[in-house]
Amino acid sequence: MNARDKILSKIRNSQARTAAGSVAGTVAQTEMRDSYLALHPRGPLPPPLDNLVAGFKERAIKLSSDVMEASDSKDVPILLARYLSERKLPVSGVCWPSLAGLPWSTAGLDIQSRPAKNQDLVGVTGAFCAIAETGTLMMLSGPETPATTSLLPETHVAVLDPRRIVATMEDAWNLMRKEYKQPPRAVNFISGPSRTADIEQTVTLGAHGPYRVLLILAPL
């Protein structure tokens, strides 16, 4: 008997079941499990928000993200240039291919369309969607949406279409189920800059991930 069979038989013995009765189960049991998976019922939800964008902004700022807004995506590079120069941060970095067409150089920025390397200091990404309940970005990994761009650089900039803000994580899962059959290799929910409170329980921003997260809301 291998370890798998031994553990499974221990589970059955503890619950006083037989091998046949446990996994196969009765018809009623099987139907119950299948319908639970198919229906994936929601638990208790937070009260609905009147304004998803305002709610998202409020929560994101509370979690130490910075938020800017543009009425046109063409203005994103100018806003980013201003943000970086105000903080005396480097003006070069990398972006996801979907954002390569924005006028970066016109705004005085050197943003290359490629996955981030260790020495890159600014990473510009989009987001699959965002969650108003917690001020959170939802990122799906893929060839066009590398996970490292939001992880290795000290500054993470996410350009987000406000129409992609949903109320809850449950809504975000449903959007993913609708647009993709299954989750990609990595789904990352990001809620502000990386942080640690390991030393004297004092919150310090910028642990192993970005020191700052800038969210630019712009129609894409």
Binding site: S22, M169, Q201, A207, H208
Partner: protein
């Protein structure tokens, strides 16, 4: 990790006298207890959400074989390799084999309490794999050769000055005097470890049956780095961590960070499914998931099964007056506080941790804050009953309990005995009305005086109508 719970009482005396530790523990109380209180009310209906969370965990535990197999099937379909381990030693062997198969020389690790159960780091070093802890707290402990003293804040027992000294010595860099500078130094020292590691090792907060995914919650970003950069990722977790659906885990995620650190959500929640695709620029080529039993299966179907609901938030220890005074090391194994006082005897043998079920005042604070409604005081009481049934109590304690039980069954004699008792104690209390010594209760009177009774029993006072 070696279980030294047998030394509990001796350790308690040492910890109570440790001034530095007492300072560190007072911080935990303010940051974590007040932090939780500040955000737990954000949840629309907390009690309804706790009930739903407990039901989600019970659904899985009552049908664990089915949900484990469903998880395994989905994970394999996405390219992960699922391993099963009966003991911690089996986990160590499996990880060493994976390392050998993929030619792994260095591993970067994010925090995993299950790996602490196994003593994985020492085993991998023996197998020739260099392991680097990357969670800031765990990294500090690795440098100091110490064990974690809290499941969420592993280095809560150390203050900034000690960590500054440690970094200056180990990093051979000028001593930093500020927490932010210490964090940056650790970031810069550890970044190459992430980039060069052949293998990333993580725990798993939840296993998702619906999608075959491992979910981890982190704040520092090290969890994302170790599961994104190295070519091999090994996730190690307990068999009880399965959750059926994405919706179910979302309900649990509303409770976990709020209960743990007072955050409405952790910085990162990562849901990891399968290997990288050929077109992907990042992600591991090989994804191994190790499911550890280590005694968990024996709790199923027993009166202790509810303990397996635990989602490892640490709220029970943060709110425990015993943990708040002695810290985590005294408990002698990986899991301290009320949840540890139950898990350690259950997983490691009641005979090896006889003091832990009794290291509680049964005040009930842990049960009130537990996000999955584990009746922790009831479980502690059941363990005490087991000790009594198995004759594991000292002769003195057994005698006292039996004597009390006999008295309680004879009300007339009980009344006389207590009348004499309270009068005697009043006289002994003297003018101060305090007893400095009490036979059989040195544990109490060593640290403080026992207030002398007023001289009459409750029943006497009641009869006289004092209550009116």
């Amino acid at each position: 990790m070696q279980n030294t719970s047998i030394n509990f009482k001796r350790q308690v005396t040492i910890k109570l006298a440790d001034v530095k530790l007492q300072g560190a523990l007072s911080r935990l109380q303010t940051r974590f207890v007040e932090g939780r209180a500040a955000v737990i009310g954000e949840i629309n209906d907390l009690q309804e959400t706790r009930t739903a969370a407990a039901a989600i965990r019970d659904r899985v535990l009552n049908d664990l074989e089915y949900w484990l197999l469903h998880f395994e099937q989905q994970a394999i379909a996405r390219g992960a390799i699922v391993h099963w381990a009966e003991t911690g030693a089996d986990v160590n062997r499996i990880v060493a084999e994976i390392a050998a198969r993929h030619g792994v020389r260095t591993a970067a690790k994010s925090k995993s309490m299950v790996s602490e159960e196994c003593g994985l780091n020492d085993a991998l070093e023996l197998a020739g794999v260099e392991v680097m802890e990357t969670d800031l707290g765990e990294y500090i402990l690795q440098l100091a050769h110490e064990a974690p003293s809290h499941i969420v804040a592993p280095v809560v027992h150390k203050n900034m000055e000690e960590i500054a000294d440690l970094f200056a010595e180990k990093h051979q860099l000028p001593r930093k005097t500020d927490i932010a500078e210490l964090c940056r130094e650790a970031r810069e020292v550890l970044r190459p470890a992430f980039l060069n590691a052949d293998m990333g090792i993580s725990g798993g907060n939840f296993l998702l049956a619906e999608t075959g995914s491992v979910l981890i919650v982190t704040n520092e970003g090290n969890g994302r780095l170790v599961t994104t950069l190295p070519r091999v990722h090994v996730a190690i977790t307990g068999i009880e961590k399965v959750v059926p659906t994405l919706e179910d885990v979302t309900t649990l995620l509303r409770l976990l960070p709020r209960s743990a650190t007072g955050q409405s959500i952790t910085n990162y929640v990562s849901v990891l499914t399968g290997n990288k695709d050929s077109a992907d620029h990042d992600g591991p080529e090989h994804f191994h998931i190790i499911l550890l039993d280590n005694g968990r299966s024996s709790l199923l179907g027993s009166e202790m099964q509810e303990m397996l609901r635990c989602i490892r938030c640490g709220a029970c220890m943060n709110h425990c007056p015993v943990y708040q005074n002695i810290g985590g090391h005294a408990y002698g194994w990986v899991y301290p506080g009320p949840m540890g006082s139950i898990l350690t005897p259950l997983l490691g043998g009641l005979e090896n941790a006889p003091d832990l079920p009794n290291a509680s005042t049964l005040c009930g604070a842990c049960a009130v804050v537990c996000p999955v409604k584990i009746p922790l005081p009831d479980l502690l009481r059941k363990l005490r009953e087991k000790q009594m049934e198995r004759g594991m109590k000292s002769r003195q304690e057994t005698f006292m309990l039996k004597a009390w039980a006999w008295l309680a069954l004879h009300p007339a004699i009980y009344a006389i005995a207590t009348k004499i008792g309270v009068r005697l104690m009043r006289i002994l209390g003297g003018k101060e009305k305090l007893l400095h010594h009490l036979p059989g209760a040195r544990g109490w009177t060593d640290g403080r005086d026992f207030p002398a009774p007023a001289g009459m029993t409750f029943r006497e006072l009641y009869k006289r109508g004092v209550h009116k």
